[in-house]
Amino acid sequence: MKYLRDIGSYFLMLKKVFSSPTKGSVMKELIFKEIDDLIIRSLGIVSFISFFIGGVIAIQTALNLENPLIPKTLIGFATRQSIILEFAPTFMSIILAGRAGSFITSSIGSMRVTEQIDALEVMGVNSLNYLVFPKIIAMLFYPFIIVISMFIGILGGYLAGVYGGFTSSTDFILGLQDNFNSFHLVYAFIKTFIFAFILATVPSWHGYFMKGGSLEVGKASTKAFVWTSILIILTNYIVTQLLLS
């Protein structure tokens, strides 16, 4: 019963997010601030993780190639497929559910605890539009992060594969180009947009509707991370079933 009520409350929140818009000049500033907080400031961790995971994928693929009949181009191919199809869009989103999601929940939750949300409402501001809408718009730039993740992940795979002595540069690049299906990129970016919406709204719901004091802000952040991750994994399965099977 509680879950049904929470789902209803989430959709009612979404309805209110898109009503009674905040003044344009104020909203513009909020959107730029959110792009900085959620997108630009995530680039460091995204690049770091992508680079080393790309490298690990290349090394593990190479170490499992025991049969001499399997071409070394498979290392580049496997790195590309793993990163484009799953690692960059899905696992990077789960990592960002921890970074950006917790940030969203704790910042909105702190505003709830310190009555800043009440202050907005008393001033006649639609607090949901003011707080959540700019995050949704900022997350439209999320595919930009994923492109960076894809590029750096493959670069990491290339450097680990070639300079680790597992494959040649030519084989790796041939593998990257081998049997390339551009629809896989379309699939990855469709997923990315859905995950971006989940990343912006689910943590916002947990922060906005939290009750209690500062201890509960921490609990709400943890819950937000768990639920955002669960929703990303479930959505990933459904979208994959719909688009690739």
Binding site: V26, K33, T114, E115, A119, E121, M123
Partner: protein, 254 residues
């Protein structure tokens, strides 16, 4: 003037406000007092529209809040200022932007014009040269004054204060009380202060409404409260030794 007619508010089975009726007059500092859990803050939140009463009506200058359309409610919001217990300043904005926020929401004027008004109200609350500081960099008393500045920057007709001097030293608390009273007189506004601080009652209580367990049990001013025989009020007023001694002195003088 704000008139409250028989408002009730329930949270689940718990009836927090039980049919409260009173009038808060313009140009006066109206105090709502009572022990913790008596329903003061819930009543204030009903008045500012954060809670919807289950029954009853609230009138702002004879216009019922429940019958106002969106445009009328927006105008009312513009005419309302509120000082929250913890200040409720926006952490991500500096003092200047905090005070400017209501102006930006309701006005299309350019920043230099808005800044002039911001500086004017900050000067009124005796805070100058802190425009670029953030809320985390100023003291509790300063936060309260910034919050008052933000509440009055739009020249409101109604000012609501939730425990304005809680957590402050006695001198700063008196300063805040006097500032609220002065602003009320200067601008001829209807001010409602929720407090359980007896010093505030003595200093600024031009009209006092006493709540107990969600019911209005007494109303009067800061002279009458020391003469009333209502045991609920006397239990509250004379709960400290200091006020008991004051009462004994008054009685012996009489």
């Amino acid at each position: 003037m704000i008139k409250v007619e028989n408002i009730t508010k329930q949270f689940g089975e718990d009836e927090v406000l039980k049919g409260i009726s009173t009038t808060f007059e313009r140009g006066k500092t109206n105090l709502v007092i009572g022990r913790s859990g008596s329903g003061k803050t819930v009543m204030l939140k009903c008045l500012v529209g954060l809670f919807l009463p289950n029954s009853g009506e609230i009138f702002f200058e004879d216009k019922a809040l429940g019958e106002m359309n969106n445009e009328e409610q927006n105008i009312l919001r513009e005419e309302t200022g509120m000082l929250f217990q913890g200040g409720a300043l926006f952490d991500s904005m500096n003092i200047e932007d905090n005070v400017m926020f209501p102006l930006r929401m309701f006005s299309d004027k350019k920043r230099p014009e808005l800044l002039a008004r911001v500086n004017e109200v900050l000067k009124r609350v005796d805070l100058e040269n802190i425009n670029k500081k953030f809320p985390s960099e100023i003291s509790g008393g300063m936060k309260k004054r910034v919050s008052i500045a933000r509440a009055i920057v739009n020249k409101p007709k109604y000012l609501f204060c939730d425990e304005p001097n809680s957590g402050l030293d006695p001198k700063t608390a008196t300063l805040i009380d006097n500032l609220i009273q002065d602003i009320t007189k200067e601008n001829d506004i209807t001010t409602i202060v929720v407090t359980h601080d007896m010093n505030s009652v003595m200093e600024i209580g031009e009209k006092i409404v006493f709540l107990k367990n969600g019911k209005l049990v007494w109303q009067g001013d800061n002279q009458e409260i020391f003469k009333t025989d209502n045991t609920d009020v006397t239990d509250f007023v004379y709960s400290s030794d200091l006020f008991k001694k004051i009462r004994d002195i008054q009685l012996s003088e009489n």
